[in-house]
């Protein structure tokens, strides 16, 4: 059964890192679509069938405000899904601000989401912090 869930429920660490930079009205959500669409899902994604991957018969979507982006990662692959979501959210934030984000303390540059040794992290030249701890390296 298709469903839509707040990002903070599925990937709380990712949601925490973006909490201060995404306005509340844009509330990030994750949708898991399959062939069985309930009315609540169709209300928010009227063209749900057009998003389904023909190979898998399902699809994970990230909803941010009025934007929808499909994910390559599967729902069950939490690490890859977290990195892909963080990357899409980072792009959204940079678009909204028209500026790079997150800019690190001490001129260390801009962090990027990556999966390293199975752990979803913010990485930059010479450093890394796990998801959920981004605020510790921001000015």
């Amino acid at each position: 059964m298709s469903r839509i869930t707040n990002l903070s429920t599925v990937l709380p660490e990712v949601a925490a890192d973006f909490e201060r930079v995404i306005r509340a009205s844009a509330r990030p959500r994750l949708a898991l679509l399959d062939q069985d669409h309930d009315p609540e899902v169709l209300e928010q994604i009227p063209d749900a069938a057009e998003w389904i991957d023909g190979d898998t018969g399902s699809q994970v979507l990230l909803l941010i405000g009025g934007n929808v982006t499909s994910m390559i990662a599967q729902w069950s692959n939490t690490g890859e899904l977290a990195v892909e979501c963080a990357s899409a959210l980072q792009t959204y934030v940079m678009d909204e601000r028209n500026a790079p984000w997150p800019v690190l303390s001490g001129g260390a540059g801009v962090a990027e989401p990556n999966l390293r040794e199975g752990t979803a992290q913010w990485t930059w030249n010479g450093g890394a912090v796990p998801f959920g701890h981004l605020s510790s390296v921001l000015p």
Binding site: D47, W51, G65, G66, T69
Partner: protein, 147 residues
């Protein structure tokens, strides 16, 4: 190629003065003025190394460095459309939706390498509308084959 039709009356009982600008991104545009209907067929090209359609009103640009590489795209419009415009864009790969944007600034986006590999040889389609100052409508679409 750009087609601008104005004014167009779209309702019999309540005339609506509207300017309809078709942001060409199209090799052929057959603008059926009755009922404001129109058909725009975008020329299909190759995403790699780059694909570009449009004219003076604006351009759609797509870039892909090579096979299996990430794709970037963007819509760049004349200065008059940079503010007061509401954009609705849909991106499809092989007919499946992969991205949709509803926003008030020039849209751009990317298709990551994993997805570009998955859809290599398939068609990437970017289409949508831009409504400027409520009655100035641009429609656009472009298609290119993913390397």
């Amino acid at each position: 190629m750009i087609v601008i039709n104005r004014p167009i009356t779209t309702a019999r009982t309540t005339p609506v003065r509207s300017r309809l600008a078709v942001l060409a991104l199209a090799a052929m545009v057959a603008a059926g003025l009755s009922g404001c209907s129109q058909t725009a067929i975008a020329p299909q090209g190759h995403c790699s190394p780059s694909y570009e359609v449009g004219g003076a009103e604006g351009k759609l640009k797509v870039q892909q460095k090579g096979h299996g590489q990430a794709i970037t795209w963007g819509i760049y419009v004349a200065s008059k459309y940079k503010t007061g415009t509401v954009w609705a864009v849909k991106v499809r790969a092989n007919g499946t939706n992969i991205d949709a944007k509803n926003q008030t600034y020039e849209p751009h986006g990317s298709v990551n390498a994993a997805r570009a590999k998955k859809y290599s040889g398939k068609v990437l389609e970017i289409s949508g509308t831009a409504v400027h100052n409520k009655d100035d409508i641009l429609t656009f679409s472009g298609k290119c084959t993913i390397a």
